[in-house]
Amino acid sequence: MTIIFITGGVRSGKSAYAEKYAIELYKKYQRSSLYYLASGVAFDEEMLKRIERHKEDRSKSNVQWKTIEVQDDFPVEMLDFNQCDVVVWDCITTWVTNVLYKTEQYNIQERQTKIVDYLNRFKSFITQWNDKHSIIIIVSNEVLDEPKSNFEEVDLFRKILGELHQWLVSVCDEAYEMDYSITKRWK
């Protein structure tokens, strides 16, 4: 029904905005479930705290969030989203990083195929949920406004993310860029 895309720099308030917007839509359209797809991996103390803080924020809210972890592969629950659901995915940047990490073990050609496969499945999930009238809010990061990296891996990441953002912007109904709580609506 509706795809909403939100990007911004670090600590720009995008998660908070996405969650608030999700709750608003959940109440307004009287949806039955509010899903949170989390892609963060607790690889160190700071990351663990960050994830805990996000969890705490959600538990304090007066609505019940259902959290599903999507680090790289897609859990089967994701197929069940239907017209009664509001889904927040926070964030796609992390998911892409995880996919790159996960496919690192393969040779270039195999890896390319695997990555394309992940991206195609991602796109088909978004399209399917949209066809089933879910409300989907996708959060991502702005990481493309800096000099080209000397590391091939970083450039591959930027290319994949940039093209994925372009796709999301082309299919979404609303697109926002956050700059320290100032929100620019692009679409």
Partner: protein, 142 residues
């Protein structure tokens, strides 16, 4: 002169190509990381990109001097033909650790300011969506 600016992989080149669909291919010339040496007419469209590479070649020269020289050459080129500059926005990430990378970023900023000033149209591209920062697309047909 016209400027199309945006982050990497945001669809800047696609936007330029789409805007020039009405122009015969033989009049469209792309230059990446270098300025053309040949002459062009007002029928032509000269699309310049990868200013980073042009700057990297002269990195031992002073920041303002590089930016001025490049801007002057591009301005001169624009008097004989139609110049479109595709600028990678580099200025919004973390300050680079490496001295050369820092200088590259600063010099790009200086150059872009000059190009913006000279341009009748400046468009920012955000994942394929154009935002007019200066000028008017309707009055400034490509």
């Amino acid at each position: 002169m016209r400027v199309i600016i945006g982050g990497a992989y945001n669809g800047k080149r696609e936007y330029v190509k789409k805007s020039l669909l009405h122009v015969n291919q033989k009049y469209i010339h792309f230059f990446e990381g270098e300025l053309p040496l040949s002459n062009f007419s007002k029928k032509d469209y000269v699309i310049l990109s990868n200013f980073e590479k042009m700057i990297m070649k002269k990195l031992e020269v002073d920041e303002d001097k590089i930016a001025n020289e490049l801007a002057e050459t591009i301005k001169r080129l624009d008097t004989q033909t139609n110049v479109i500059c595709i600028c990678n926005d580099l200025g919004r990430g973390i300050v680079p650790m490496d001295k050369e990378q820092r200088k590259l970023r600063d010099t790009c900023g200086r150059l872009y300011q000059k190009l913006f000033e000279e341009s009748s149209l400046v468009v920012r591209i955000w994942y394929g969506i154009p935002q007019i920062l200066k000028g008017d697309v309707d009055n400034d047909q490509f």
